[in-house]
């Protein structure tokens, strides 16, 4: 039945010309017959024909109504509507462009932000049953001083301990991300290598594409010279040839290729290859990675076990282990730690753990874009409403001339749909741009695991919001036209009575909303900008200008003396390079190693341990003149010399914080500290110098106690060369590269960066955060100003007659200005008041993101509203200039 109807409609549509002709003929016959009938009734032939036509009604209308019953909107009407809408929009390019841009911004920004949040927090990790994957931050790895020696007994739950809970964890694994050199005279490569236990692949639930993964026997200390390659490395480096059983050289060590992972798998941290991690760990494991290996333990929950149950089981086990063995900590300390672990969770979802603190920043930004989208919608609504007001007469005129309501409706709808589609198109173009800007905010732990992709669902959602706004409010004039009597509207010539009080009040409310939301964004951006500028002005303890750095690392098995000789040779050559004034080496560049590594300290001969805080100190290995090269001030004592070697009594240089904590009120130079560079090792260090506190970890964290060891005693395998000079950065980089090449052409090098760049990169997330939110705030400000402007301009245009009469009655331009400003002021002030309350309450979400100020920073909460108030009032005053130009006679006469 329906099908038949549709078929007939289609037929009519396809034969529409013929159908129209036939209808025309039919109606002509009717008119003729009617005229004849009237003539017979006694009318004159001419009158009869006219009467017959009159009875018939308007021919065009009639034809249209008949055609409407065909159910197909005529193609040419659609074409006509589109042409008309485009012409109207082209006549007002600013209006059209504003709506398209504003909607595009709202849609694009929201989509990109949500896509980023989705990748980090919502999308499942691409592993089997990812919801069962957990991170176990309190589980330790057993450590043995060497191969064959028994593992130390630690007062905690270790990997084997967790593995022995099969009713909770079906498999457990440890992994760490490091870098290894693939020696190659042509092009030495620095590869991302993951060190993993045999349970790694099983826990994630991934299978190799070719070959196999590690077995338990390959993870005992001393064994494990096998490697699994990533698909990407296999194709890139080896042209995807058959590699199984071949050996490759990594850092002087031969590894046999036993497997290749499927494409796309590169966990953790975009790894190129995987090598076995020995259980227990031995110093050799660390040696291959410059003594640094940040390992994590993860597990897969046994089916049916809940996260909370696993958490309490693991903590119970942990408490038993502590009670049994550790006698150093007091009972209160243990209770406190246990309580903390209970609240923070000893078993956490792997995804949340990998996303880390970046999640908060992304959520804040998502909130900000949400506000922006709302402001954008309010603004578009505002623009459409003002357009609607001025179109009411046009609509009335069309209706009076015989256009059917449906026809007028379709015409307005066409224009709204075109605008909305334009906005969505702009959003589509903008979304990838914003998404790229967001890359700096993505947690590096998730790189290569989940990449943000444009989320089509969100694009759909944001677009529908745009469509609803655009079409819903775009149809206002059509609605108004159908409500009002066209005759009345037309008679009220010029006064535009149709846009009544109600619509004016609605638009003022929109302004209140826009101002309030903009203020919230403005305050948020103010807080982040102020804390970013505080962060950049924080005392770094070093002078990073004109310093270039180059990171590199030796193969793990090189001898201490060999490494030392090479570094010295590189430094020697570097110092002779033109443009280089000072050069040095350090085991880790400031602001690039995160928390770094710490060793426990004990007081010596009656000295006192610091009353508070941990007894550990962060350590670095440095060459002489490291402090001079980086502009780190010496407070007392001396720099290292080549005589501070492994034969001399161990010396250290300490930072101010360590000096203050361990040697209050005395000069630390010449004093001693008992250090524990490895488990069970005791070394008496003599302090030879005190240097200024340097922000080694990151700019925001307090400087921890810091030890500097001379590299003559222990030479790190991973290190960075730094060179200060007033030459161009390119020249400094060339000098660094040449120095390395001259010593060993096959030495792979890592990143070459100016220290200023290192600083910038260390605050990249904060900067991106502050910049994006400021961008949003600036946009919101512009939108709010635009909104105020258009409402006032429209109001002034509408009240021309009132102003004219007032002027005629003696009001001056100044009086009118004060009158209108007062009205605008009330609206803006209301918006600011609401916005302030919202910002005050909402500022808490920035708690983790601000530095050096509180989230209720007085300066921001004063400057923000003041800026917004001034801009809004300026936007309001601009259209008021027209008030002065009102000539009362003209206005009243035009009525």
């Amino acid at each position: 039945m329906f099908l038949a109807v549709w078929w007939r409609r289609l037929w009519l549509f396809l034969n529409r010309d013929r159908v129209r002709r036939e209808l025309e003929e039919e109606m002509q016959l009717h008119r003729d017959l009617r005229a004849r009938a009237m003539e017979r009734g006694g009318a004159a032939p001419v009158d009869a024909a006219a009467a017959a036509r009159r009875r018939f009604g308007h021919e065009v209308t009639l034809a249209e109504r008949s055609q409407e019953s065909w159910g197909f909107q005529r193609g040419d009407e659609l074409r006509w509507n589109v042409r008309y809408a485009l012409r109207r929009l082209a006549n007002r390019p600013a209006y059209a462009a504003t709506i398209v841009l504003v909607m595009g911004l709202g849609i694009g920004a929201t989509t990109a932000m949500f896509s980023a949040v989705d990748a980090v927090m919502l999308r499942a990790l691409p592993f089997r049953e990812p919801s069962r994957l957990v991170s176990l931050p309190i589980v330790e790895l057993p450590f043995a001083p060497g191969p064959g020696k028994p593992a130390e007994v630690r007062a905690t739950v270790d990997l084997d301990g967790a593995a022995a809970m099969p009713d909770v964890f079906s498999s457990v694994a440890a992994f760490a991300a490091g870098r290894l050199n693939l020696p190659d005279v042509e092009r030495p490569l620095r590869l991302r290598a993951a060190v993993v236990t045999d349970g790694f692949f099983r826990t994630l639930g991934v299978e190799p594409m070719v070959g196999r993964t590690f077995v338990k026997e390959e993870t005992v200390p001393g064994a494990g010279t096998v490697v699994v390659l990533s698909d990407a490395l296999w194709r890139r480096q080896y042209g995807a040839r058959d590699m199984l059983g071949e050996t490759i050289l990594l850092d002087d060590q031969r590894y046999q290729v036993i497997g290749i992972m499927p494409p796309g798998f590169s966990f953790p941290r975009e790894s190129d290859l995987w090598i076995p991690m020995s259980v227990p760990l031995t110093p050799a494991t660390f040696a291959a990675f410059g003594g640094m290996l940040n390992w994590e333990v993860m597990a897969r929950l046994t089916p049916g076990v809940e996260m909370t149950a696993a958490n309490s089981r693991l903590l119970q086990r942990w408490a038993q282990a502590i009670d049994g063995r550790d006698r150093r900590d007091s009972r209160e300390d243990r209770e406190e730690r246990l309580a903390y672990l209970r609240s923070s969770g000893a078993v956490r979802p792997l995804q949340a753990y990998l996303a880390g603190t970046r999640a908060t920043a992304l959520l804040v930004l998502l909130g900000a874009t949400g506000l922006l989208l709302l402001i954008a919608c309010a603004n578009v609504t505002n623009l459409l409403l003002s357009d609607a007001a001025s179109r009411t007469r046009e609509m009335a005129l069309r209706t009076a001339l015989g256009a059917s309501r449906a026809r007028v409706f379709r015409q307005v709808l066409t224009e709204s749909v075109i605008l909305a589609l334009g906005g969505i198109g702009a959003g589509l173009l903008l979304a990838p741009v914003v998404l790229r800007a967001l890359q700096a905010l993505m947690p590096s732990e998730l790189a290569g695991v989940v990449e943000p992709q444009l989320d089509w669902r969100v694009l759909g959602f944001a677009s529908s919001l745009g469509l609803v706004t655009g079409i819903g409010f775009g149809l206002w004039p059509a609605r108004a036209a159908s409500r009002t009597d066209p005759g009345e509207t037309l008679k009220s010539s010029g006064t535009l009575l149709a846009t009544g009080r109600r619509s004016a009040r609605g638009r003022r409310m929109l302004i209140v909303v826009e101002v309030a939301l903009s203020l919230m964004l403005l305050v948020g951006s103010g807080l982040l900008l102020r804390s970013f500028s505080k962060l950049m002005r924080v005392e770094r303890g070093m002078d990073t200008a004109h310093v270039a750095s180059l990171e590199l690392s030796f193969a793990g098995k090189t001898h201490n003396a060999t490494r030392l000789a090479r570094i010295e040779a590189m430094l020697e050559r570097l110092r002779r390079s033109p443009g280089v004034e000072r050069a040095a080496a350090v085991s880790e560049l400031p602001l690039s190693s995160g928390e770094g590594y710490a060793e426990p300290l004990d007081p010596v001969d009656g000295g006192a341990a610091p009353p508070s805080g941990s007894r550990g100190a962060r350590y670095l290995h440095v060459s002489p003149s490291y402090f001079g090269t980086l502009g780190i001030a010496f407070h007392s004592g001396r720099d290292f010399t080549p005589r501070d070697d492994s034969l001399a009594p161990p010396t250290v240089i300490i930072n101010e914080t360590l000096a203050r904590q361990w040697f209050p009120n005395v000069d630390p130079v010449g004093r001693q500290l008992l250090g524990h560079p490895g488990p069970g090792r005791n070394v008496h260090y003599t302090v030879v110098g005190v240097v200024a506190d340097v922000r080694e970890q990151d700019l925001a964290s307090d400087v921890p106690p810091q030890l500097y060891h001379p590299m003559y005693r222990v030479t790190p395998t991973a290190f960075a060369l730094v060179a200060r000079g007033h030459a161009e950065p390119a020249a400094l980089f060339a000098a660094l590269q040449n120095a390395v090449r001259a010593v060993d052409p096959s030495q792979a090098v890592g990143r070459a960066r100016m220290m200023d760049q290192v600083v910038r990169e260390s605050v990249a997330p904060q900067r991106t955060n502050a910049l994006l939110i400021s961008l949003f705030a600036a946009l919101a400000l512009v939108l709010a100003a635009l909104g105020v402007y258009s409402v006032v301009a429209h109001g002034v245009a509408q009240r021309g007659r009132e102003f004219g009469i007032r002027t005629a009655l003696g009001a001056t331009g100044g009086n009118l200005l004060v009158m209108v400003s007062r009205e605008v002021f009330v609206v803006v002030a209301l918006g600011i008041a609401i916005g302030l309350a919202g910002a005050w309450a909402g500022a808490r979400v920035l708690e983790a993101s601000v530095y050096g100020i509180t989230v209720h920073d007085a300066t921001t909460f004063v400057i923000g509203p003041a800026t917004l108030g001034i801009i809004a009032m300026t936007a309001a005053v601009l259209p008021l200039r027209r008030v002065f130009r009102v000539n009362p006679v003209d206005v009243i006469r035009s009525e």
Binding site: A4, R8, E26, L29, H30, R65, S66, Q67, E68, G71
Partner: protein, 110 residues
């Protein structure tokens, strides 16, 4: 001359179908005249509504049109009701009778 009344909204379809049900093969003018005559010249078909209504009925498949010749040898479209149209007429008729009966009951002075 009797006062002519426009046809109440929505009943035109019913009138056209019922007219064609009794007298097959009428063209537009004849339909309008037939309705006028059968109502004792009380009901006046607005020509402006007749042709849209005919198009609508054709699209729904309730009537069919066929081109033929008038007595004066002019081309005209002659309409006839389909089986589906007869079923629709029965439906419309019973619903109309229910409604008009109900209205009459309401308007009846108690």
């Amino acid at each position: 001359m009797t006062r002519r009344e426009p046809i109440p909204q929505g009943t035109l379809d019913l009138l056209v179908l019922s007219t064609l049900d009794q007298r097959p093969e009428l063209h537009g003018f004849e339909i309008s005249e037939a309705i006028g005559r059968r109502s004792g010249d009380v009901l006046q078909v607005e020509e402006g509504s007749l042709y849209p209504a005919l198009q609508r009925l054709m699209v729904n498949g309730w009537i069919k049109g066929k081109w033929g010749r008038t007595d004066e040898n002019r081309r005209a479209r002659y309409y006839h009701i389909t089986a589906e149209g007869q079923r629709e007429l029965a439906r419309k008729l019973s619903s109309y009778q229910r409604v008009s009966g109900a209205i009459a009951a309401v308007l009846q002075p108690a």
